[in-house]
């Protein structure tokens, strides 16, 4: 979901995604390569993202991922689901 959210802002390569997650979450969330790349492959398999090769900011060849319409829809569903759970957890924490 996090990866989808990052990509919703625009296309990015693997390193960029990892950096983004790290910086946006202020170093709380660190995505290791061992889970990032299999996760990206799974997103590709489900057709939620597509990949294309392009030049990176320092002019190296890099693979850029971007969201597909199906991925956008998936992000919305997952966010709603996540929101629901967070709200539920908070309710339990506050009222129990």
């Amino acid at each position: 979901m996090l990866v989808l959210r990052i990509l919703a802002r625009g296309r990015a390569h693997g390193y960029g995604i990892a950096q983004h997650i790290k910086s946006v979450s202020e170093d709380v969330l660190q995505v290791g390569e061992s889970s990032l790349y299999p996760a990206l492959q799974r997103l590709l398999l489900n057709g939620w993202v597509k990949a294309e090769w392009g030049a990176s900011e320092n002019n190296r060849r890099a693979r850029f991922y971007s969201l597909t319409p199906a991925g956008r829809k998936q992000l919305v569903t997952e966010r709603e689901e996540f929101q629901r759970i967070i709200v539920a957890i908070q309710k339990v924490l506050e009222n129990a």
């Binding site: 390569h13 390193y15 990892a18 390569e33 061992s34 790349y37 299999p38 398999l45 190296r60 693979r63």
Partner: protein
Amino acid sequence: MRLLRRLQTLFRLGRVDAELHEEMEFHRAMKKRELERSGLSEKDVTGAVARAMGNMTGAREEARGVWLPGWAESLFQDSVYAVRNLRRQPGFAVVAIGTLAAAIGLNTSVFTVFAAAALRPWAVREPGRVVSVYSFATHVPQGANNAMGFSIAESRFLDSNSKSCDGLVATRHSYVRFGSDKTGRPSNAMIVTGNYFRVLGVGMERGREFMREEDLAPVPQPVTILSYPAWQNRLGGDPEIVGKQIRLDDVPFTVVGVASRDFTGTASLRADAWIPFASLRLLRPLDGSVPDLLEKPDYCCSAVAARLRPGVTRAQARTELELLSRRFHMEHSLEPDAILLTDTAMVSHPGSKGKITVMFSLMFAGVFLVLLLACANVGNLLIARAAARQREIATRLSIGASRRRIIRQLLTESLVLATAAGLLGVGIAYILPPYVLARAMDQPPNLRFEPDMYVMAFSVALSAVASVLFGLAPALHATRVSVAGAMKEQPFGSRLRLRSVLLGAQVALSVILLVAAGLMMRGVQHASERNPGFEVNNISVISFELPANSYNPGRIRTLLSGLQDALGNAPNLHPYGLARTAPFANGHWWTSFRLRGEDATRERLIETQEVAGDYFGVLGVPIVSGQGFEPSDARRGAVLVNETMARQYLGDEHALGRTVILGKEAREVVGIVKDTYATGLDSIEPLIYAPVSGREMPRLLLRSSSAGAVDSATAIAKRLDPRIQVRAEPLAAQLERHLSPARTASALAAMLGLLALTLASVGMSGVFAYVVRQRTREIGIRMALGAAPSQILGLVLGTCSRPVLVGLAVGVLMSGAVSRIIHSFLYGLSGFDPVTYGAVCLVLSAAAITASWLPARRAMRVEPVEALRYE
């Protein structure tokens, strides 16, 4: 969609990997730059990058695993490796695949026939709802086949009253001749009720189904529907055939349709044309039995099938039909019958079920033994190959491959072999059964051989089973090595033991197959050499085919007396005999029989022959007591019986003069005839001889030694009616035909036996060669110490012969058990026929000696010095 994407990616898995690699390299480079900028020293950067990235290869494999699970990938790799390995040893691959393909092909062939006969319903719409319907006489008679069809009247009654069925159809077989075709075999016509095509739901290639009014009695219509093959072969596939007239038995019929391509009828013979029952009046205008057939409530027996309403079970339908049948029988004061519903596969017919089951079990058993043999052979080859690959396997084990992993890889190799063989086997099964059946039967049965889902599934399952059968033991063995020992190339005692066991099993299996084949061949030989109790070689059988539409029983009787008068006046045709069925004919007639004074429940079916003229004189069958037929006996109702009949039912010497009830008529036994094998060479059954009734044209038996006898008999018949077709053949040909199924069966068995023998020989020579190769050094030492070549020969033969001898002994014992099962195919030959067993043991021993000859010679020629230097 996911699947599609997955498949797309699988085709370029190599590129996916490279891309992942490049992508992660890029990631690493970026990370490094980032860390460098944060001011770490170069040495620290490398370590930090490595720490940050973690196990990159693992990550990459995991990422790839998203597309292709690990096990599938290694299976794929193993297969590729196996194929490469096999291509490097084409000789081994050809032998192994060929052996397995032959065995799997045979098994699949038998299964194809089985599937066609047992699993495949008729080619109709929703075949699952169509059932065959039989009636069962609950009161009489015992023995023989009790499941029967129905009268047309009853089937029509059931059709119009049944609520559980969407309709019942009745069919009957008849022969017709197309057009002006006067020679060759007549075609198969199925006489059917008008609703036949509609109820069964048969698609039409051309034209339409029968209409209701075409089968209504008062106004018969000359209409017919052709089968697709008949349309193609007999009428050249004429596209304008519908509406045209063709002649069936010289009666003009209008073709109203052509049935769909794959529908060949619902009988055991392929139908060429269908005709409504009512039209029989046009096809056979003079046949007195036609009105009876169409109208009489007890005129047995037409085959009946029904289509069940959706949701109705067979049990429900059976109950309803039985109630309706009771009502019908009550209304016409007939005995009530029970009803039986079965599916429509050929073997489900209650009359043939037992026999066909036995036949198929035997065939399956036979070909499965061949498969086991083939597996043992290939297993042996694999062991030999594993011996050659010891070093490779030991190396892989020593650098850390698990035993499971290597076994899996070896099994994958077996699977590759079996898959290739399975594919070839399906090909064999596609060609073999139609070929064998076409050669073995004079009319192909109504079976469709298609390599359908069942056949494919069977073949796949068989290949998998086979690959485990022949691959597992060698794989287990090959990996049970001590790494250090294998590196040093030490021989393994236990491997030889496994091979000996396999070899013994092979010998035992081939003994069983050879004994079975030998017994069957000896049985046929025994039967053909058996004195049938009458003259065979010097007799001609002449059959007359009357134009069917101009003869009724009355006219046949007139023709018969004319024929007999003319024959009587021709001195060169003496003696002559007339018989309803020729000796050894495959047609049999049974009549229900009881003694006077017994009530109807004691009735049994007895085989009956109708004779006239000097039938017994022509065949040289003596009349043991009493007298033969006089011309006046036909009216007086006298019968003769054979000795077995007299002994079993008539109290032997008291038989003469007793009165028996045949059908519904009282007959007097006037004579006892010597037993013969005229009705079948396997056994002598009780038999009743009655005078020719003239219901149908009997066959004429003549001594063929008198010159021109056949010609003058033909001339006499042609003089009486020029339209009569006359066919003559020697009685010996009839005998040949009688024996031909048994001959075919024994030839097939012999084929299996020969295949088994070949496989066993190959197996034996392989093992023997291995033994010699393994003991070369020992032999060399012995020879260096002064052993004579003959002693070496003894040593080699001694090692080799033990498994063979054990196999022989076990095989002979098991054959004894098997011979009891095939007892009924042996024509009275003992299952312990010493000639067969002796010959089989001899042949196998000879094969074993031949197989050990080359290796033994090589052993004797071992140069001591060279042997010691070997390695």
